[in-house]
């Protein structure tokens, strides 16, 4: 039973990771690619790690997996924010295609 639940969770998480990778190829703008790189990958990692908790037996496995989840959930938003801010300031994006830009009067290039 545990094996089946864990396997289904791991498969779902891997599907999310595959969707994130396909979105990297299909999406045409930096910020949409950042959106598809950050959210589905993190959710995929969460699902795979929770699924692995059901399957890996041994001391410390659950706590290490929980530590990985916590690390990823703490660092992924911070690094995405840093990269987004840097790209916006540096002008590494399609400014003409943006519908609305709240930071246009804040960021001096």
């Amino acid at each position: 039973m545990n094996e089946i639940v864990g396997g289904v969770l791991i498969l779902g998480g891997a599907a999310f990771a595959a969707i994130a990778g396909m979105g990297q190829v299909r999406f045409g703008d930096l910020f949409t690619r950042m959106h598809v790189a950050t959210k589905p990958s993190t959710l995929g990692l969460l699902l795979v790690a929770v699924g692995a908790m059901f399957r890996i037996s041994g001391p410390g496995a659950v706590s290490l997996l929980a530590l990985t989840i916590g690390m990823q959930f703490l660092t992924a938003p911070v690094s995405a924010h840093l990269v987004g801010r840097a790209a916006h300031r540096h002008g590494d994006w399609d400014r003409a295609a943006a519908v609305h830009d709240d930071l246009s009067d804040v960021d001096e290039l």
């Binding site: 994130a20 790690a49 801010r85």
Partner: protein
């Protein structure tokens, strides 16, 4: 069996990130792709641990997650022309 299929799906996702890493027009695209590729790597390490039913490699996941964060923030400072 089901976990082997999951590892194949992870390889598909990693290939997408690799394409973006190689052809991304700007440096910021490559940074995003590298960060995502490392997330896929952590996920694949965990899935491999579940496939072999050994918790030996789970430490690698924690370390790679930390190093990926450090590298991404350093690259972001670099793009920004950081102080």
């Amino acid at each position: 069996m089901i976990v082997a299929l999951a590892i194949v799906l992870l390889a598909v996702g990693g290939a997408g990130y690799l394409v973006r890493l190689l052809q991304g027009p700007t440096l910021a695209d490559r940074i995003v792709a590298l960060d995502g590729l490392l997330t896929i790597l952590v996920t694949a390490v965990i899935a491999w641990g579940a496939y072999t039913d050994r918790g030996t490699y789970l430490t690698v996941g924690v370390v790679v997650a930390l190093v990926a964060f450090l590298g991404t923030s350093a690259f972001a400072r670099f793009v920004e022309g950081g102080r």
